[in-house]
């Protein structure tokens, strides 16, 4: 079962849910972030975060501490905190980058966040008590191009970054002032700040921007989606084995783990797909929606049929896609449950809709659904 939330005709470039899932922050391809709260089946606008000068590229709402971080093409990021008068107060973050910020994500413990940018830098930002502000440390080497996507490892230290230089890298973002030294993981034991733990190339044939990266729920596997229509999974526990699936579909733009061994990915195909990760290969699961080919509306007379054939070259004018989303999906976010045990997830798309997908009811409805 899917619930469709319509927010107009403007594309929704990014979105994020509040911790209690009653509020939603989204940006409609502009420099503003609008906050909505659900009242029954309707959405009421409860806030407007309009401090950015240029397009907002990414939003993340920390569930436990209730802080929102937004980053934008204007090279800035702001942290927004709700004060006692129910007004969102902003704090500028000193990213020290000279290009657009492309993506931002809070760490699992919400004491740091990472911002990827076109300056080939990842800024790890934390709150400095003496200065009473957000300062950043840079991770520079060896990135050669824009960072497109970021995901945190559950241990709050390691981050994965996908980039337009066709590589996925795992870095350590250990900040001495904020946290204790981490214990060794499958990715390595030495973890100084900015240390490159592992680097993966997207394709042996050399190409394909990396659109999305995601650690598995236990952090031992790393999945990424490349523009060469592929989904790859690297297994750190299995000697860094990289399993790549070259799909027959259009490229995916966003992905997440819905079960310990199942990935949900969505992108230019306008419908989410599931991928099953086995011990040595990734396999395509199924689409999460059936191609609803509507029966043609009955009473087309013979004359209309031939008129259409002559004018349009086909039987009837088909402009609508047979899926819920009409344009490519920009982002997938988990709504109910957590990574690895997801009940519901949402997709935002360039057609102005946010669709919430309920896995339990979908599994009941669609016989072919493989999770």
């Amino acid at each position: 079962m899917t619930t469709v939330h319509n927010f107009g005709v403007s594309p929704i470039s990014c979105h994020s849910w509040s911790g209690d899932r009653k509020s939603l922050a989204l940006s409609q391809n502009s420099n503003e972030v609008t906050l909505f709260s659900s009242s029954g089946s309707d959405w009421k606008q409860t806030g407007l975060l309009d401090q950015h000068d240029l397009r907002v590229t990414s939003i993340d709402w920390a569930p436990k501490t209730n802080r929102i971080v937004t980053c934008s093409s204007d090279r800035n990021a702001y942290v927004w905190v709700l004060d006692d008068n129910n007004v969102w107060k902003k704090t500028l973050v000193l990213l020290r980058i000279n290009r657009a910020a492309t993506c931002v994500r809070w760490s699992p413990e919400e004491n740091k966040f990472a911002v990827g940018s076109g300056a080939k830098i990842i800024s790890i930002c934390y709150h400095e008590k003496e200065f009473d502000g957000w300062v950043s440390k840079h991770i520079k080497k060896p990135m050669q191009s824009t960072v497109t996507s970021i995901d945190w490892h559950p241990n709050n230290i390691l981050i994965a970054a996908g980039s337009t230089d066709f590589k996925v890298r795992v870095f350590s973002s250990f900040v001495k002032d904020v946290e204790a030294r981490p214990s060794p993981t499958e990715w390595g034991s030495k973890m100084p700040m900015g240390y490159l733990m592992k680097e993966f190339s997207n394709s042996s044939a050399g190409g394909g921007w990396v659109h999305a990266v995601s650690f598995s729920p236990d952090g031992s596997k790393l999945a990424w989606a490349g523009h060469d229509s592929s989904i790859s999974v690297a297994d750190a526990a299995n000697d860094m084995l990289v399993m790549k699936l070259k799909t027959n579909l259009l490229p995916m733009c966003s992905l997440t783990w819905i079960r310990p061994n199942t990935i949900a990915a969505a992108g230019h195909n306008c419908v989410p797909y599931t991928f099953i990760v086995e011990s040595d290969a990734v396999k395509l699961g199924s689409a999460m929606e059936e191609d609803k080919k509507k029966e043609s509306s009955g009473k087309t007379s013979a004359m209309d049929l031939f008129k259409n054939k002559d004018k349009l070259g086909q039987n009837e004018l088909e402009t609508k896609l047979n899926f819920t989303h009409q344009k490519q999906i920009a982002e997938i976010r988990i709504v109910g449950g957590q990574k690895g045990d997801v009940d519901t997830f949402s997709t935002c798309s360039l057609d102005g809709k946010i669709v919430v997908w309920n896995l339990k009811t979908l599994a009941g409805q669609m016989k072919g659904l493989k999770i």
């Binding site: 080939k120 050669q144 229509s229 070259k246 259009l250 490229p251």
Partner: protein, 151 residues
Amino acid sequence: MAKNTSSNVFRTLDVDQYNEDNYKEDNDSTDPAALGPNDTLITSLLAANKPVEALTHLLSGATLGIKDQAARTASLTLAMRVLMAIKASQIDDAVAQLDNENRDVLMKFIYRGFEVPNEGSSAHLLVWHEKVFTVSGVGSIVRVLTDKKRV
């Protein structure tokens, strides 16, 4: 007015190469000795009227990312000969026998073949394109566009 206002020579200078922050390609030097598919083997298979086998050999042997233009043109001419030799009715079987990697390489050859049309070649290539597309979908076409190592 500056003395060299009329001179456009500066426009021919590539300033970007001096920028130390440039993106440097991964230099996996393809071993020049391991050049493309075995020319003689494939020609003999074609002569022996076994074009489908020739196709399998051609695709498995094709190396991507060769820098030498002459070698690339030679391998393209060879590929075109094989593709033209296989009749339209045999294409279905030929495509079904290939694995996914080889189908991607085949799609790359098809698009390169479109770039240099000979008489009647494009029509036949269109049939090839349609048959490969039904099996490999849009993914293989996306890979023709995104893979940096061209065939």
